[in-house]
Symmetry: C2
Subunit: 354 residues, 2 copies
Amino acid sequence: MKIPDHRRRLERLLAMVPVPQVLVTDPEDIRWLTGFTGSNGWVLASSEGTLLVTDGRYVDQATAQCAEAGTRIEFAGGRSEMIGILTNSVTDELGFQDDRMTVSVHREISNRIDRLVPIGQDVRELRREKDPTEIETIARAARIADSALSECADHIVPGRSEREIRDALESAMRRHGADGPSYETIVATGATNSARPHHRPNDTILREGDSVVIDVGALVDGYHSDMTRTFLLGEVESELAGWWDLVLEAQDAGCRTVGPGVAAREVDEACRRVFRAAGVEDRFVHGTGHGVGLLIHEEPYIGRNSPAILRPGDVVTVEPGLYRDGLGGIRIEDLLVVTENGFDRLTGSDKTPR
Amino acid sequence: MKIPDHRRRLERLLAMVPVPQVLVTDPEDIRWLTGFTGSNGWVLASSEGTLLVTDGRYVDQATAQCAEAGTRIEFAGGRSEMIGILTNSVTDELGFQDDRMTVSVHREISNRIDRLVPIGQDVRELRREKDPTEIETIARAARIADSALSECADHIVPGRSEREIRDALESAMRRHGADGPSYETIVATGATNSARPHHRPNDTILREGDSVVIDVGALVDGYHSDMTRTFLLGEVESELAGWWDLVLEAQDAGCRTVGPGVAAREVDEACRRVFRAAGVEDRFVHGTGHGVGLLIHEEPYIGRNSPAILRPGDVVTVEPGLYRDGLGGIRIEDLLVVTENGFDRLTGSDKTPR
């Protein structure tokens, strides 16, 4: 396994901000900078390194998790002691994540420090470009979801319930080494459920003529994968079958657009163009994609108004879909990593609808 | 199923604050007041009722979920539009949850409204006293975990792995109607793993002589349950066997202390007294308990320095434990609801260690 280069991550953070010291309060940023995954803790980052302050429950865990990053660790009994330790180490202007700090914490810190500088916007894309360790982990998560879906293919037949399929997929992912599902697996069947992009699996039984949307990902070492396939059970309405072909065409067009220097909204437009030509653009009710990493939804977002330009190291979904209550829904989604020359596809499951 | 009395909940909120209108930004408080569970949305609460502002993804969901509460719903395209709609409805001083609002959101709202009053502390215990609907739901979650543990008893034997037991428990809870586990189920076996209160299940195999700590709860309609049992596999070291008896004695003493008007720290002291008499108080490394509801950890907390006085409707854990790396750990936990006369126990699993 590759080892993350924590020093390089710290340097990336410091290069983004106009201050010499940063108080990091976002849990994923803390994990990314130091390895620490506890539920309580803040990090002070400066050119001298990272200092984690957490509480006594995490003595062993913090010591083990932060060893690689070389983070210095101190322990505090409560929030005001935490703030005391952190502010004692502040020598200059202190950057803080104004979009990741509550008003009440800010008030408490302001009582101790004058020169607080909001840097939330500056570091919004801190974790955006994935390094080789991260890409390897996400790829592993994607392969686990592939294996689970292939193993559960026999379950996706008339007579089974959405819940059964969800349970089978999640249990298969764990068996293949996932820490759990990346998000609650979506299994949505039939004219009503599959028409809801975020349907939650229930006891609905799969029937002949249904489209079945399966949106599944694995969680590995904190990293997520994300993939959707739509299956058609037996003979489906011709309109729905036509939608399936359109969504595949749109998804393929979207993926082929992905590459370094490409505007995210161009990827969205490539999908949308296919739907527009077929007169169904209004049935595409969500964005085309999003970044994936320590969060299942993160920068960069791919939609009509996205400002992002894709860069090597971006890991993004491309997931157009069409939905109409009473007819059903179709979505096809892959997870891609942007490379120097184009993209690699991290999800590999077959797309055949039956 | 009983129906929550949303009007009464709104009145409870308004009685806690010195302002006529409150902007509710805590997701669990929003769910409790309106029924809405979407990931994006804020609520304006006043004597006129509740107004939810969310985005277009949630049109169907918000309409369905808020019907009972009679919440008015509006939709906005982005955060600044959300803030616009909400602030247009503000006529007077506006209370806001300063411990549940980021500095950047506060800045944006301050630009539109002058009279912002922090009320985080005032409403910290908003959801503390559970109403009959809530108690019924938590009791159902507790019964599901009981059934799962009883069903999986055959798995808790030498030769099985922690992970296998975790998967069996979580799958059984789902089969019995849970929406999922209440938190990641803890299965911790042997001298090292069971000595860690928050151990994460891995491939460690259960062996003769191990103590096995199993901490399991179910999630039902957003409400959590919480329970721990410790099993002893075959002949264990006599010190560990002695600890098991001590923990049971402490847990029983703690539970018997619970009742209306009792100081939470008295419950803690009742457990601690047993350990102190045996000279092992330093091995009790965490608090005695916590409230449980829409969050797995919420008010009131039961520990040495807890200020809380227990009241009817409080749902709390009592979970003393002893831990030493190299020997192992023991924890026994029940979930109780405080009643007018004492308490009811919501968790019912047998405590026999073998």
